[in-house]
Amino acid sequence: MAVISLGNDAKVRRGRQLPWTMIMAIAILGAWILLAAGASLVAPYDPDAVDIMNMMASPNAQHWFGTDQVGRDVFSRVIYAARVDLFMCVAGVVPPLMIGATIGLLSGYFGGFVDGFFMRLYDITAAFPFFVLVLAIVGVLGPGLTNYFISLALVGWVTYARLVRAEVLTIRDSEYVQAARSLGYATRIILLRHVLPNAFGPVIAYAVSDAVLVMLAGASLGFLGMGAQPPLAEWGVMISDGQPFVQQAWWICFFPGIAAITLGLGLAFLGDGLAQIRRRQVAQ
């Protein structure tokens, strides 16, 4: 008996072991979240402190990542900017996800005219190159992060709606939903307790990869002067600030880019890890 249970335990433990991409993701994302949250403790300098005696100093013991064209410490600015870029990943993904999931849920479950209408809306929005439409909307609304989030909510929901709808279509006719229906549960309960939780898996995986896209597009807007507004430290803004001086001081541009890549990698690993865990669950 004891032997058998030992064997089972080992098997269970192997099944529960995290994929290595998940461990990497937790390490990278955890590090960024801690750095961003504790920026005032970690950063050696005030991110906006101008030091004209120390302009464009190359990386050294006092300034690990060097200083920029007005002598601000690049390392401190990269750390503080993580707050803005992490916030972008959340505020740029959650509203489109909520809107899209709601529309996809209703549209898939009830079908009919509403479904047709939203699917045409999907076709039309999907015809526009994503970045072009976001850029145009932000351009018309005016620069700034708030308008970036508004444009994402206007454009980004369609993919979530499409994903949730596709899941709901298969779940709608499944046995457990039919059972819930024949037991007389209210439609609202069926939708929220039975359909939505089961439709959410692929959506979460997509949301994580979407976060990379949102972060990069947000940094691109910052680079073009249409996202986060200077002097607020944001990686795209910092790269834009450093571009005219890249010949003399490559480090002003270089380190914010590396920061964006590491955060992107953390998110990509998270997406990969979640997908693997899901595959395992399905296999079991």
Partner: protein, 312 residues
């Protein structure tokens, strides 16, 4: 049902999508809070200027009348007038589109050979070491900010090593190739992983297909099966995806053009946005969307002609 009929039906289905695209482009200018006339005139314009602009562009009419005028203009090939250049947007697009077309084709041409090599290596042993490494490189490639890569590459290959010019478009075909190499490479580094993932999936899918098993049963060698059975069948789904991906390339080249000062549609779009030349922005957004739709259509029709089993 013949091909021609299927294509005609597909064209009919396009009409509502195209109509929707024009509505979105039209509403773009009305999205801003307040008065579109003020938006067009700028913050410092006097009340008279705003009134003049409102009247000149028919912005004092009801929305539906404005839309009808807009549609009428579109059908006559007039997609707006640039306030800054004082020229029709169509003319501007005609002038700026060549560098962009060149760049997009360049990206595709640069991306195909590495994609083939990477996808074939990956799919030969799914889950193997090579596959894992290629997937990781792909994931990393997707997380690089394209504009940052552009700046860094122009700093090191352009200025420090002096191999490539770092801005402009040049004169003549070879000069274009030379000038646009770094912009195309910056975009390709980000595009290759996407394309590789798709071809890899298709290769693995077709390698286990019935016709591959049948070929094996008939005694064909692994090599023969791969080159004459699996690969040709796997190219088609990837080709299909290419239509969708061109939209992504367009998005990517916009910002790369800006970094390398390529006088293309992306640069035009961003300069117009920053210069508040909104009719150009509107026109470009419309043209980008219509181009995406038409490319997707062309790819679909092409696949149907290549493979008669495909239904349009």
């Amino acid at each position: 049902m013949g091909h021609l009929q299927a294509i005609l039906q597909r064209l009919l289905q396009l009409i509502p999508v195209l109509l929707g695209i024009t509505i979105v482009a039209f509403l773009l200018l009305h999205l801003a809070p307040g008065d579109p006339a003020r938006l067009l005139a700028g913050d410092r314009a006097s009340a008279e200027t705003i009134a003049a602009i409102r009247h000149q562009y028919g912005l004092d009419l009801p929305l539906w009348r404005q839309f009808l005028t807009y549609m009428g203009n579109l059908l006559q090939g007039d997609i707006g007038q640039s306030l800054r250049f004082q020229r029709p947007v169509v003319e501007l697009i005609g002038q700026f589109m060549w560098p962009t077309l060149f760049l997009v084709s360049y990206v595709v041409v640069l991306s195909v050979p590495p994609t083939l090599i990477l996808a074939i290596t990956s799919a030969r042993k799914p889950g193997g070491l090579a596959d894992q490494i290629i997937r990781l490189i792909g994931v990393a490639g997707l997380t690089i900010p394209v504009f940052w890569l552009g700046i860094m590459m122009s700093r090191f290959f352009g200025v420090a090593l002096g191999w490539f010019p770092v801005s402009g478009y040049g004169e003549g075909f070879l000069d274009h190739l030379h000038h646009l190499f770094l912009p195309a490479l910056s975009t390709a580094i980000w595009f290759i992983p996407v394309l590789t993932q798709s071809l890899r999936a298709a290769l693995i899918d077709k390698a286990t297909a019935d016709f591959a098993t049948a070929a094996k049963a008939q005694g064909a060698s692994q090599r023969d099966i791969f080159w004459s059975t699996v690969l040709p069948n796997a190219v088609l789904p990837t080709l299909n995806l290419l239509g969708v991906l061109v939209a992504f390339i367009i998005g990517g080249t916009i910002i790369v053009e800006m970094v390398y000062a390529v006088p293309g549609l992306g640069t035009l779009m961003i300069k117009s946005l920053l210069g508040r030349d909104y009719y150009v922005v509107q026109g470009l957004t419309l043209v980008f969307a219509v181009a995406t739709v038409l490319i997707t259509l062309a790819v679909d029709v092409l696949t149907a002609i290549i493979d008669p089993r495909v239904k349009l």
